[in-house]
């Protein structure tokens, strides 16, 4: 098995262009969280020409709504949610500097085209492995939209957060390639 590539946001275009589908990547440093409602709010702000409550330039957004933290824990279980629900919003965020998305499940052609156009990458994390993934999260704090509860935007400090490149900036799609390889 190929060795993992280590990355830390903010992510430059040089780093993006080195990532190919199937690559194992370990992310360390700070990433943002956001899912359905938070995406709609960010999208609406950009459309209205207003500034965002968080800087997304060069950043990675993890599609997650964590479980509440037990006492003594920094976060509850925190696996990825299904990404296609963020498809209507993702291209505009990439246009405004977003470089990476972490989630689970296939993306639309429009999102895949936007990754090529704006040089961005989509990472797959293991859905349903929320207890395991939480081990790679060292701290969590809400940075916007506290009223959204599990959907609030958090800044996570992660260490060797394991993901796989599912869509790269060259139009590659691991979901299509993978299924083709093992179909009978």
């Amino acid at each position: 098995m190929s060795e993992s590539i280590k990355i830390t946001p903010p992510i430059s275009d040089d780093v993006i262009m080195k990532l190919k589908i199937g690559d194992r990547v370990l992310i360390s440093g700070k990433i943002l969280t956001g899912r359905d409602s938070a995406h709609k709010r960010l999208y609406d702000l950009i459309q209205a020409g207003k500034s965002l409550p968080v800087d997304i330039e060069g950043q990675i957004i993890y599609y997650v709504g964590p479980a509440p933290a037990k006492p003594g824990y920094v976060i509850g279980s925190a696996g990825p949610t299904t990404s296609y629900r963020m498809d209507p919003y993702a291209p505009l965020l990439m246009e405004h500097g977003l470089k990476g998305m972490i989630g689970k499940g296939v993306r639309s052609q429009i999102v895949r085209d936007a990754m090529k156009q704006f040089k961005a990458v989509y990472f797959a994390a293991t859905g349903g492995a929320g207890a395991l993934i939480a081990k790679n999260i060292k701290s969590a704090r809400i940075v916007a939209y506290e009223d959204l509860g599990p959907e609030a935007i958090r800044e996570l400090e992660v260490e060797d957060f394991p993901v796989i490149v599912a869509n790269d900036a060259f139009g590659g799609d691991l979901y299509q390639e993978g299924a083709k390889k093992y179909r009978r």
Binding site: K104, A124, R183
Partner: protein, 279 residues
């Protein structure tokens, strides 16, 4: 006649909500292990191993397996000789409130489907009641995640479509779902009844343990065939390619109207949660 206190129902439901979210069924763990041996994709094996580790951590640390702790779907088999001191619906919802709050489970229910606003305690539960002879209550809590639920479908097929039509519909539904329902999945299929009842059948099918075949050899064969065809799609663990797309397919049937042929597919993720108790 037996008297069952609402407090007992509250405590039982609360315990089942927590246990279903912390402890994966032994049948599922064994299925993961069996699939690791057969999985041809290295990424696929890696993901299945992660799922085993995830279950170990969740059990040891008593934390939810998945952050989506689900809609609390409750199946009641209510003995007709049971007397309860109060509302059983209130008691179940109180149990859900207690379990989800005290167990640090995520609350994912919006009070209004369009206007939103989280209810804050994961209530109300979805409750399916059947009446059975006797003086006991069997309570099954099956928390259902949104990602896999969204890949489910009801289709009013033509009687002429027959069993081949059913098979093609199931395969097509799984194919279109691709990676979204967190494969390896468990696939529940309802055939017959009415529009609303067939969806219930598909959901009820998900309460079976891996390997439990339909009692009717005809449907047992269809279950085996569908499982093979689904795994031949190559979708694989988390949709990244592989030979493990579903762990099992369960079919439940019901008599139908001569004009109708309802079929439902309800997909469960690999965190296939269901815990039961008899009180």
């Amino acid at each position: 006649m037996s008297n069952i206190s609402s407090d007992k129902i509250v405590d039982t439901v609360a315990r089942l909500c927590v246990e279903a979210n912390y402890f994966l069924g032994k049948d599922m763990l064994q299925a993961f292990k069996n699939c690791i041996e057969k999985e041809e994709s290295e990424t696929g094996r890696d993901i299945l191993n992660q799922l085993l580790r995830n279950a170990e951590i969740a059990e040891k640390e008593q934390v939810p397996l998945c952050q989506d702790c689900g809609f609390a779907v409750v199946f009641l088999e209510l003995g007709t000789e049971v007397c309860i001191d109060g509302s059983i619906v209130d008691a179940i919802n109180e149990g859900v409130r207690k379990g989800y709050t005290e167990g640090y489970l995520r609350k994912s229910i919006l009070a209004d489907p369009v206007k939103g606003k989280n209810t804050g305690d994961n209530t109300p539960a979805i409750i399916h009641t059947t009446f059975v002879p006797g003086d006991k209550i069997k309570i099954t809590v099956a928390p259902k995640g949104g990602g896999s639920e969204n890949m489910s479908e009801v289709k009013m097929m033509k009687p002429a479509d027959g069993i081949e039509g059913v098979k093609d519909f199931v395969i097509d539904r799984v194919l279109r779902s691709s990676s979204n329902p967190c494969p390896p999945t468990v696939v529940g299929v309802g055939i017959g009844g009415t529009f609303e009842y067939v969806a219930f059948l598909a959901k009820k099918a998900l309460l079976r343990n891996i390997g439990d075949r339909n009692q009717d050899p005809f449907y047992a064969d269809v279950e085996r065939e569908l499982l093979q065809r689904i795994n031949d799609l190559g979708i694989g663990p988390m949709g990244l390619g592989g030979r493990t797309t579903s762990l099992d397919v369960f079919i439940e049937t019901h008599p139908r109207h001569i004009a109708s042929f309802p079929v439902a597919v309800n997909i469960n993720c690999h965190v296939a949660r269901h815990k039961s108790a008899v009180i």
